[in-house]
Symmetry: C2
Subunit: 320 residues, 2 copies
């Protein structure tokens, strides 16, 4: 299995990317390929992969306009990488670079699956018993009910094939649990999901994302993004308040340490950024987006998601 | 100043309501009036207020359909109370009963201000330096840009008149901070707010609600509610995880106690339910909704909001 790693995207590129790629080679048996500036990459990769470099001299920055940069920077690692994937030279592509450029490039170069109107970017958040998949997390604005139903289908396929959750519970993000709640889009989406033969459990509220009573939360990209960033805001606020109050409380050093250990593990679970990568759902070929701050381990985790997508034939199963 | 207290709504009615009303009488010098079943209320109120009871024999439950119950239960405390307010027998009305019924009744009986298309329900959330007002928090679905601008105007009036924040910073809840982000509604609302002469600071994200860099966050009721309930969900999740990890960590009792004290004060700040009440903005007369779980102190805090709205002539200032 040939996995291509974008060595120009991410805060710790190229070192962390290459470290993750070799972890994946060692643990998963994949064959790593690299895209980036070969002069920089060559000294960092092993002899066995010396011919596994796709040359890319340009870099798309997070500040670049995604759609424009895909056209203006044909030699960027994003464009070169996605082209190698589209042509079949590699089986999967992982990038920790600009999300927008990866999504725009994915749609433009790798193309959408037949029957899928747009691609969705999911996010995995922790809940009391495991993880909740929320999609879309912000790739799609001005969505309609049919599109939200296609998100449900893609989310279900991802959970079943990659995370091994059979017949996942699907909920619709809404302002209340009763049927009839919400705006027109939510009301119409509810009816469509109700008619499906999936395990649709009805409307869910923002709090249910973390409760463990739903596996896939369907959201338009606007409110999905609001939920995600609000959650981040609460966590930041709590960490700040905790630090301030600890300083004021004048605790013994060993108590401070115990509290910090306690908090550390909880907030680690909450930090979805560190959990590897998420697939861009709806594309014809497997693409995984890793967070910009990914270290080697996170890149390895992202590669594992990519490998699982390929092994399980998830995309073939989705295109009925 | 005559304030009317709904003694039939809320988990701790009528005792907590009456306790709060008398606290407000003592501390704020208001004149309390009560609406509810006089047989129940008479033994609980003081001699001076024995003629301050509005008789209401029916109760609107949280499970009743709001709009229907307003028509079918004309002798409910909500309907009788709002009628007393509309007719000018009292100056303000506070209820810890059904939010939906209070909103439906407010629109139907007290009526909207001229020029206001719908009433909004704000929520005050803590931030690093104080409080952030988010509106609408769920009263309005399928909103349009003009309506969102009217929310901004009402939120600004509330902060200036009741909370004493001059020229508050107004932000639009969106998926990113750059101009042009979001769905069509958000993009159009941005332009309208930009043309206003208010202190519009641009788009804000979910995380900014808690950051302290914005005073009023404008949201359609759908995404405002998603933000609010997601925040609740994160807090519940964190408290649960904290308890589980503390139990596992086998901490010394005094350390447990210190951690609990630390957490207690932080989560108290976060619990907007306990912070008194919020006004229904956009009505012709002052109405405050207190949380269903309000104790006497919360009812007193709600009465203080109501008194401030009346003293400052906030509503008159809003109807230009």
């Amino acid at each position: 299995m040939k996995l291509l790693f974008d060595c120009a995207g991410g805060d710790h590129a190229p070192e962390a990317i290459i470290e993750g790629a070799y972890l994946a080679k060692e643990k998963l048996g994949i064959t790593p390929y690299f895209v980036g500036n070969s002069e920089i990459l060559r000294p960092l990769i092993q002899k066995e992969e010396e011919n596994h470099i796709f040359e890319a001299t340009e870099v798309i920055e997070n500040t670049d306009d995604p759609a424009v940069s895909i056209r203006r920077k044909p030699n960027s690692s994003t464009v070169v990488g996605l082209k190698a994937l589209a042509s079949g030279e590699v089986d999967g592509f992982l990038s920790a670079g600009s999300t927008g450029a990866l999504l725009a490039g994915g749609l433009f170069i790798v193309k959408r699956l037949d029957g899928v109107k747009r691609a969705a970017l999911p996010v995995l958040l922790p809940n009391k018993n495991g993880k909740t998949l929320v999609l879309d997390s912000g790739a799609n604005m001005d969505t309609d009910p049919e599109l939200l139903v296609s998100f449900a289908e893609m989310g279900k396929a991802y959970l079943e094939n990659v995370l091994g959750i059979d017949n996942p519970r699907i909920g619709l993000l809404n302002v209340g649990t009763e049927e009839g709640k919400g705006d027109k889009r939510a009301q119409e989406t509810f009816q469509l999901l109700k008619e499906s033969d999936w395990n649709f459990i009805g409307n869910v509220e923002g709090r249910d994302i973390f409760s463990g009573n739903v596996d896939v939360v369907i959201a338009d990209g606007f409110s999905g993004n609001i939920a995600l960033k609000t959650a981040e805001g609460v966590v930041e606020y709590l960490l700040g308040a905790m630090q301030k109050n600890m300083a004021k409380a004048d605790l013994a050093p060993e108590v401070m340490l115990q509290i910090k250990t306690l908090l550390g593990s909880i907030f680690h679970d909450l930090d979805y950024n560190k959990q590897g990568g998420v697939p861009l759902l709806g594309l014809k070929k497997p693409v995984v987006k890793a967070h910009g701050s990914s270290n080697g381990e996170a890149i390895y985790n992202g590669a594992a998601v990519l490998a699982k997508m390929i092994e399980s034939n998830m995309i073939e199963k989705m295109s009925i």
